[in-house]
Amino acid sequence: MYLNTCLRLLHDAEQRLAESFRQVARGHRAEADLAALADLLADQCCDHLAELAPLVRRYREQPTDEPERPPLAALSGVRSGPLGLVRDLQDLYLLASFVAITWTLLRQAGQTIHDAEILHAVDWCQAQTDEQLAWLRTRLAEAAPQALIAS
């Protein structure tokens, strides 16, 4: 049983996503919508971390195949210019996708062992992650023509 591994992966990924949203909020201040929204989305990730914390504790004693290489790193700083913005949002999209699919893994595991606490967490957190992805797709689609063609 590798539930512990799954929970840790998710916890780490949410943490990296939160950090990356904050970096984008700070680093792209001139994009006024990002400054406000990326902070809000980072807060959501922090809420997810709080929800995950008791689960991580509960399954801490289980075996894990750690230490392993972190699957995706947080942003190591923001890029500049219109294309840089698109690239940063793309990176956020990768991180958020990893979070989303890991919530799916957790849901599958939770359903299998009838763990109501896990299922409750998955229920609302995954919905928020899906909205984060939808927002990133929306924002990237809007930014792409100007960044790729006119800049």
């Binding site: 001139a30 994009e31 006024a32 919508d33 400054a35 406000a36 929204l37 902070d39 809000l40 989305l41 210019g81 219109p82 909205e131 984060q132 939808a134 927002w135 797709r137 929306t138 689609a141 809007e142 792409a144 023509p145 100007q146 063609i149 006119a150 800049s151």
Partner: protein, 813 residues
């Protein structure tokens, strides 16, 4: 009632004499007239059909002409909007058109100054730059930022030039600042733009709820109609949601002075009460809406006590307001800038729609929602696509809608930009700042005063990253920064139509010629298109029309079969019948008073204007997602949680700054500031402080105070008012010119110096009504602040200690 014109003093009394009437009665006629001194009515040679363009009411009027000059205006007795009345701006504002006009084009010379020239020189310069940029960078290098004050024919023509000629998605109006949220909320809830209710609902309602809508100052003639109902035999109950103690608040049965930025929490609380107290029309909701479970789940978190804590009002008042709304039999709700320009704008405006959907209270006399417009022709900016949308409320994400337009315009589908939503104003300015929008054409608006974070806006317009063309009637703060300035004709100097906030279309005919070489924006844009050589696939010039009447006929074709159908109208019918409400088709030539009378909304996936968004982030829904929910004509109950405003108060900036419009002025005062009665009534800006805050800061009436936010600071004379402590108000009309006669000469007093850049995630409307601010006394002033003794700006009467504590007293009626 008498139809003899009355010659009022609308400055002293903006609403005029009462003409009370009962529920279901006809609002009595009262004809207001103003002629310049020395001219009597019998000297007027001609009364020309028109309507007022100084707020979204669009009051029908006639323009009096003598000796080739406009000498006055008279309200149109038979007009459904105003029944003869005119407000202060309508009566006096037109005089501002007779001063300081631009009469020749101007181009920037080598030495940097603007110099007069002829049209050929100016247009050649525009076209040369435009061609060069188009060849090198393509259509994404071009952007247009226009107005809510031009005419339908002008907007539609520009829309066609932008979308079918150039092919740029970068087009917006300053309607983004005033009415984008009305538009967005209507799309989210009902599937397309389009005002559900109408002004006649004031005649029928038994309950009125005004959300962030200071109607007494923003639409004085609408407020006169409300006052006449309040003074009549069966007075409707009135709820006012407004941080300030406005004239509306003074008449309200319940006033909720919410903290700026907390509308959504209040509305969620009201929705919760409506659900919990069982004021829901369950059969109607089941048949005509989608999303009740999700809405109920979200609003369950907003019991009155929590709402009271967030909003800074008493739980008892929240419950009282809910009860007034929930027990009314015919409820009319209105929404304006207190919601639209504030935090979580679209989410909040949608909740007002939801309140009415839960009660099944739409589409019947007295029952409805007015998602108001700010500017007189904002509706046309939206429906014609001058706000960037596809015209006729078409959906850019629906390939069939794009094809319809391609066929109508005889251009390739690929030409029409539809990779995403149109680029909104703030993003256009961002692209200009980054240098990827290289030509920005601004018409009939003054962003160097009206946009947030003015330092930045002026830097962009005055810098060398973007070639700026300005079409305007005056040398505004914006025109002064342009590379080319084109002189525009104004209202009364050109012919065309426009549509007010309750879908009433008026014809505004030319009464006098424009001054000097000035000409209508329709002519200017057609000239540009001809010089650029835009063509249809079959080789016709694009646009192929040249007169307003031809442009109107083309728009009728474009509107056919869409919610804003104009096919049953004509200039002649508008001339005879004054105002006609769309949709108006050949089999419904009388027009349509209310939308959605059958409870069928425009949400069918193939018909709707938008597939919707998540309200918190603005994440777009896809066609697939929309189709999967199968709304099929049912309205959508969209829900969202309250969040704290990102630029709200904190330890360094502890008060809440809010900005707004006041009764005597419009927009950046380009016209009203030049009309003597209006300029004199409110000559310079001020700041309103609550008496409680004033005492704490050691400020008395007229003292000069400095307001500071992270964006900047301004110094203004203080008006001490009775209001909830913690909220500070500055009128937003005043730009650089306001200060010439006051205080520190030269320095700008624009409220927007203080406001950070930020916008609603769905409507993209800038947030100018909530940010943290610090206030310090600078010194004594030279007397009372130059604010009107009226409405929310009314001075606190100094009484014994304690007598001026905020709140508590009953409103006078």
């Amino acid at each position: 009632m008498s139809e003899q014109p009355v010659v009022p003093d609308r400055v002293a009394d903006p609403w005029g004499r009462r003409t009370p009437y009962p529920a279901g009665g006809n609002w009595p006629t009262r004809v207001d007239e103003h002629l310049v001194a020395g001219v009597s009515a019998d000297q007027v040679r001609q009364w020309v059909t028109s309507a007022c363009v100084l707020c979204s009411n669009g009051c029908g009027l006639r323009i009096g002409v003598a000796d080739g000059r406009v000498v006055g205006v008279r309200g149109q007795a038979g007009d459904r909007v105003n029944r003869g009345r005119l407000g202060p701006k309508g009566l006096y504002g037109w005089q501002g058109q007779q001063r300081d006009r631009l009469t020749t084009p101007l181009v920037r010379a080598e030495g940097g100054e603007l110099v007069a020239c002829d049209w050929d020189t100016a247009m050649n310069r525009v076209v040369a730059r435009s061609r060069e940029l188009l060849d090198r960078w393509g259509p994404l290098s071009h952007a247009f930022y226009t107005s809510g004050q031009l005419l339908l024919e002008e907007y539609y023509t520009l829309s066609v030039i932008g979308k079918a000629g150039l092919g740029t998605p970068h087009m917006d109006g300053n309607t983004r600042l005033c009415t984008a949220t009305a538009d967005a909320a209507l799309k989210e809830s009902f599937g397309t733009d389009g005002q559900p209710a109408c002004y006649a609902d004031v005649d029928h309602c038994d309950t009125l709820v005004l959300h962030g809508h200071n109607a007494a100052e923003t639409q004085t003639v609408l407020w006169a109609r409300v006052l006449d109902r309040l003074a009549g035999p069966d007075r409707p109950r009135l709820v006012c949601v407004d941080p300030r103690r406005t004239e509306v608040a003074r008449h309200a049965d319940v006033h909720l002075p919410v903290r700026p930025g907390t509308n959504l929490a209040l509305l969620n609380g009201l929705l919760r009460e409506v659900l919990h107290r069982g004021w829901v029309d369950h059969d109607w909701v089941a048949a005509h809406t989608l999303g009740l479970d999700e809405l109920a789940r979200v609003v369950a978190d907003y019991p009155a006590g929590r709402v009271a804590d967030i909003c800074g009002v008493s739980a008892r008042d929240v419950l009282a307001a809910a009860e007034v709304f929930g027990t009314g039999q015919r409820v009319l709700s209105t929404v304006l800038q207190g919601v639209y320009q504030s935090h979580q704008a679209t989410a909040s405006a949608c909740q007002v729609n939801n309140l009415h959907l839960l009660r099944g209270m739409l589409g019947r006399p007295g029952c409805g929602v007015l998602q108001m417009n700010g500017q007189p022709t904002a509706q046309n900016t939206r429906e014609c696509g001058a706000n960037g949308d596809l015209p006729g409320f078409r959906n850019w994400a629906n390939p069939r809608h794009v094809r319809e337009l391609a066929e109508l315009w005889d251009v390739a589908e690929e030409t029409i930009p539809h990779t995403g939503p149109p680029t909104h104003a703030m993003q256009i300015f961002r692209y200009a700042e980054q240098g990827s929008v290289r030509l920005l054409w601004i018409a009939g608006t003054n962003p160097a005063v009206s946009l947030p974070d003015l330092d930045r806006v002026r830097r962009i317009l005055g810098g060398d990253t973007v070639f700026v063309v300005v079409s305007d009637a005056y040398l505004t703060e914006t025109a002064e920064l342009a590379d080319v300035v084109l002189p525009s004709a104004l209202w009364g100097e050109k012919t065309g139509t426009f549509t007010n906030t309750d879908r009433t279309v008026h014809l505004a005919e030319q009464a006098v010629p424009p001054p000097g070489q000035a000409r209508g924006d329709l002519d200017t844009w057609l000239d540009y298109a001809r010089r650029m050589g835009f063509r249809t696939r079959s080789g016709r010039p694009l646009p192929w029309w040249s007169t307003p009447a031809e442009a109107f006929a083309e728009w009728q074709r474009c509107s056919a079969g869409r919610p804003c159908d104009y096919t049953g109208m004509s200039y002649q019918a508008l001339r005879e019948r004054h105002g006609i409400q769309w949709p108006c088709t050949p089999d419904r030539p009388q027009g349509t008073e209310r939308l959605y009378v059958d409870g069928v909304f425009n949400t069918d996936t193939d018909y709707c204007e938008d597939f919707g968004h998540e309200l918190l982030t603005g994440a777009a829904r896809t066609e697939q997602q929309h189709r999967a929910t199968a709304p099929g004509g049912r309205a959508l109950l969209r829900a969202a949680h309250h969040t704290e405003p990102p630029h709200g108060p904190n330890a360094d900036y502890p008060l809440r700054l809010t900005t707004g419009r006041t009764v005597y002025h419009f927009h950046t005062r380009t016209k009203t500031g030049r009309a003597p009665q209006l300029a004199e009534a409110a000559p310079a800006p001020w700041v309103e402080l609550s008496d409680v805050d004033a005492r704490r800061l050691g400020v008395v009436e007229g003292d000069v105070v400095r307001l500071t936010t992270p964006q900047g600071s301004v110094e203004l004379p203080a008006r001490v008012v009775r209001a909830e402590p913690g909220t500070v108000f500055v009128p937003f009309h005043y730009g650089q010119r306001a200060s010439e006669s006051t205080l520190d000469g030269g320095r700008t007093h624009a409220a927007n110096e203080l406001v950070p850049t930020g916008w609603d995630p769905v409507s993209k409307q800038p947030v100018v009504k909530v940010c943290g601010v610090r206030v310090r006394r600078v010194g004594a002033g030279t007397g009372p602040a130059p604010a009107p003794e009226l409405g929310a700006a009314r001075r606190v009467v100094v009484g014994p200690p304690g007598a001026t504590a905020a709140g508590g007293d009953r409103p006078c009626t």
